[in-house]
């Protein structure tokens, strides 16, 4: 192994890793709002709105992320959707994780005991207040881990945006290999960096989870 080379390219890979972190965190952030929107649409009485949300979720879940990325980046301009590579990565990431996240959020809301809503309603709370003060805080602790798993998948999938030439960790690694012909060293380094990022995400999820359930582990 060429250790000197590894030391030399590390700063370049770290810079690229920041792009990975940046794209992923923005996609997760906006994805959360997409997810909330999808959950909200599914509460509508007007069936076509619910169908739209269900249909959207089915399409996203039924197609590879890679294809979604290519479709938006290369197919988008034909319908006037021209996005720069990074924006496209964030955009597709957000709309992809949003679909999965909406299912996690909906599932956790549904698994809060119905007695909780009944108790709140019996005190005179309205539907919205019941949701905000009683159901959502409890659903939050249930959804943290499943949303966390999705976030980890998204970080890993972010390597796919290299195909639309975003200079993130994987793309940078490939570029460096092109000039150094040292795939073992460079891919090992980039893999290590993914591990650091992903374990950091897991740590944050675990902390958030423990905080959310502290009422059961006083």
């Amino acid at each position: 192994m060429d250790v000197d080379l590894m030391v030399e390219v590390t700063p370049l890979l770290i810079r690229a890793a920041w792009v990975t972190i940046d794209i992923s965190s923005r996609a997760i952030f906006f994805g959360f709002f997409v997810a909330c929107g999808l959950v909200f649409l599914q509460t509508f009485r007007f069936a076509p709105i619910r169908w739209f949300a269900r249909g959207y979720i089915s399409v996203i879940r039924g197609t590879p992320y890679f294809v979604q990325l290519l479709l938006v980046f290369y197919g988008g301009p034909s319908i006037g959707l021209r996005l720069d590579p990074i924006t496209c990565g964030v955009f597709v990431g957000a709309f992809n994780i949003g679909a999965y996240m909406s299912e996690a959020i909906r599932g956790s809301i549904e698994s809060v005991d119905s007695g909780q809503s009944e108790a709140a309603r019996s005190l005179g709370f309205g539907k919205v207040q019941t949701m905000v003060s009683i159901v959502l805080p409890q659903a939050a602790s249930l959804m943290i881990r499943s949303v966390g798993v999705l976030a980890i998948v998204l970080v890993k999938n972010s390597s796919l945006v290299s195909i639309i030439s975003v200079v993130e960790l994987t793309y940078q690694a490939q570029r460096l290999i092109g000039s150094t012909y040292k795939p073992l060293e460079i891919f090992t380094l980039s893999a290590l960096m993914y591990i650091v990022i992903i374990y950091a995400v897991m740590g944050i999820i675990e902390l958030a989870y423990r905080r959310a359930i502290r009422y059961t582990t006083q």
Binding site: A119, Q138, Y215, T216
Partner: protein, 261 residues
Amino acid sequence: MSTEQQTDTPMVEVRNVHKRFGDLEVLKGIDLTVDRGKIISIIGPSGSGKSTLLRSVNHLEVIDEGAILLDGVQVNRPDMKGLAFERHINHIRQNMGMVFQHFNLFPHLSTIDNVTLAPRKLKGMDKKTARELGMQQLERVGLAEKADVFPNWLSGGQKQRVAIARALAMKPKVMLFDEATSALDPELVEEVNRVMRSLAEEHMTMLIVTHEMSFARDVSDWALFMDGGVVVEESTPDKLFTNPEQERTRNFLHKHLGNNH
């Protein structure tokens, strides 16, 4: 129905209430009057409709026919829709305290926050005043020292007492108890009964669905036996429990008391 002459509007009135779940009619024309300061117990086998009736009183179950009135104001309003009804029912419910079999305390809130959440959010009470009120209610049920712990750290009996305090904090006109002691271990039943007795001494109007025959007999002013969605028999508790007129009541009591003694 109470035999006493009514001098003012009854606190709760149930008139010819019908409730169906699909093809199954669980309430088949129930009439019931709870006068101010009185305690009415409803007994009956599982599936008799007694819990459904109680839940219908504060509209957790939507009745199909009939009327329910709280202090002269109609609870169910088939003529009202959407937000208008939502506002109406939320206001009505603030005047009715409900205690559930499984307590339904909010696990993510401390005991005191369970008690003060509704006064703060619904009556706009400031935090300090709400805490004072909450502490009073917790003292009333003997749990002031548990104010800052989470419900998961309480025994079943303590949970139910907090649930009672939570309902009382809204200063309800009537308290509805839906098998409040059924989920408790036998040794924890008495502490909850004691709290309910103290409410009775304060002349709180109460409608109690229960399996605790001796308790019902002790505290109630009037008792009903329900079976198959109808009120089979009603009278003073002494008469209902010792000398019921109906065969079905006798059978039920015989079976129930037989199992307990």
